[in-house]
Symmetry: C2
Subunit: 255 residues, 2 copies
DNA sequence: CTTCAATCGGGTACGTTGTACCCAGTAATA
DNA sequence: TATTACTGGGTACAACGTACCCGATTGAAG
């Protein structure tokens, strides 16, 4: 229960794993390893997609058909494994467009949409609590990729950083609100409709009490049923609206 | 480990608890209850502030000086308790200003700042994964309070909803990035400085590899050390910049 | 006052989690 | 062939949420 955190136990080992600096060409005694870190990470992602963020290490072992403790020969612990999984999922595909060749706004919208897509496919990502930024090779490449959207502008470096961080945080924040419920409904929890049906009478009574006048004023309309994607797009759109004048002012002249 | 979710087990009981519709005036046989739900919620918040989101039910019992299972006489389970804690923390103080009497922009900035403050004081809130919106009395009152910022405007209800949701998601998203690390460092985890010191060599080597040209181009500056609050403010400011023309266009004439 | 019944707090115990530890088997080197 | 490092598998433990039981307590009914 209750969301223990994801940080890094032994940072040295964790970073070695992230940057794949291990495996001394394997001319050591002993049997050859049956697994690889990458296979474990891939299997763990599969399991997490199925079981949600509360996936168990035993499930990962099972997915790989090995003993429960075998994984620990490759990965120091669950926290480090999650770090690897997170970094893996921020890998950008080979068919990614060149953001530098695109208008800055459509480029950033594209980044937001594709990030949203990743969250849709792996909602457990939103339930993971990273104590420290992971910054593995794939994350770094993703960041580098996004920076391409600012290539033809002279926005100060610091502000570029702020803009990218802000955009990602907007997408992540919106996704958390709306996508978490899609992941791994374990057991006797109820559906969306059932929840609102149960909650309805209480809300009606509360609104009828007059203690929430402003909510009451527009509660009977369908102003409520907005999808998560709508919410994300609205926030991103307003954010980009606000960013626009600064981008235009810093547009680099083609000289 | 790994973030099991917060939803609602039995919705009926959970909602009764949220709306405090229990306790039939106590003219029943049996000993008088030693505790109240509110005392439990308060104690649980104290414990969570100290131990982080991975606080244990036994710690709450201990804080109250009762047996481990006694809490379960009042609250069906941990998930429901967390729901109550979350709702409790979105209560607005009695000294809250009247947003309707304030300029819309400063009003929304105030909302963002005070939300940030709540997260600063209770970082474990950011680690909690709510599967369904809680919408208890305090949350609803908080929402009603925020709606006051739009009183003197004619923005469509749906867009008001989108704007408020967006603002909250921006604050929450930013807070998650930067505030989670402050909560409950349990055991042999390392400090911020140690982490960056350990990560530094890897990043330098990665950047030197030339695979991240854009990151390399502005990595040696101090464009990186932005505080979480800076990041939040930048995102909120751009969002409000983008919202501004729509707010101005919908300003209600004093007639 | 006695009896009944409902409800209290406390204690014990179970299943599940991450993972520390031990052990027998394997393969490269001397 | 003997040595030695390393493998995967199994057992075991502490901590967790919580189901369950039990004696004690207190109001209502006779």
């Amino acid at each position: 229960m209750a969301t223990p955190q994801t940080g890094a136990g032994d940072p040295k080992r964790s970073l070695e794993l992230l940057w794949r600096e291990y495996e001394p060409q394997h001319s050591k005694p002993g049997p050859k390893p049956k697994l690889t870190v990458d296979r474990i990470v891939e299997a763990a992602i599969t399991v997490a997609d199925r079981e949600g963020s509360c996936f168990g290490m035993r499930s990962v072992s099972n997915e790989l058909g090995v003993g429960a403790m075998t994984i620990y020969r490759y990965v120091p612990g669950k926290k480090e494994l999650i770090d690897l999984m997170v970094d893996r999922l921020s890998r950008i595909g080979p068919d990614a467009p060149d953001l530098a060749a695109t208008d800055w706004r459509t480029a950033l919208e594209l980044v937001a949409e594709s990030t949203w897509q990743v969250y849709s496919e792996h909602p457990w990502l939103l339930e993971v609590n990273q104590k420290r930024p992971v910054l593995g090779p794939d994350s770094l490449e993703g960041y580098d990729f996004v920076l391409g959207a600012f290539d033809s502008h002279d926005l100060p470096d610091r502000e570029v950083n702020l803009a990218v961080t802000g955009l990602m945080n907007i997408v992540t924040g919106s996704a958390r609100q709306y996508l978490i419920r899609d992941s791994a409904e374990d057991g006797p929890e109820l559906s969306e409709a059932e929840w609102w049906e149960a909650q309805g009478p209480y809300l009606e009574r509360a609104i009828a009490s007059g203690r929430y006048p402003r909510v009451a004023k527009f509660s009977d309309e369908d102003s409520w049923d907005l999808t998560g994607h709508d919410a994300m797009r609205y926030a991103v759109d307003r954010f980009l609206d606000g960013l626009a004048p600064r981008m235009e002012a810093s547009r680099r002249t083609p000289s």
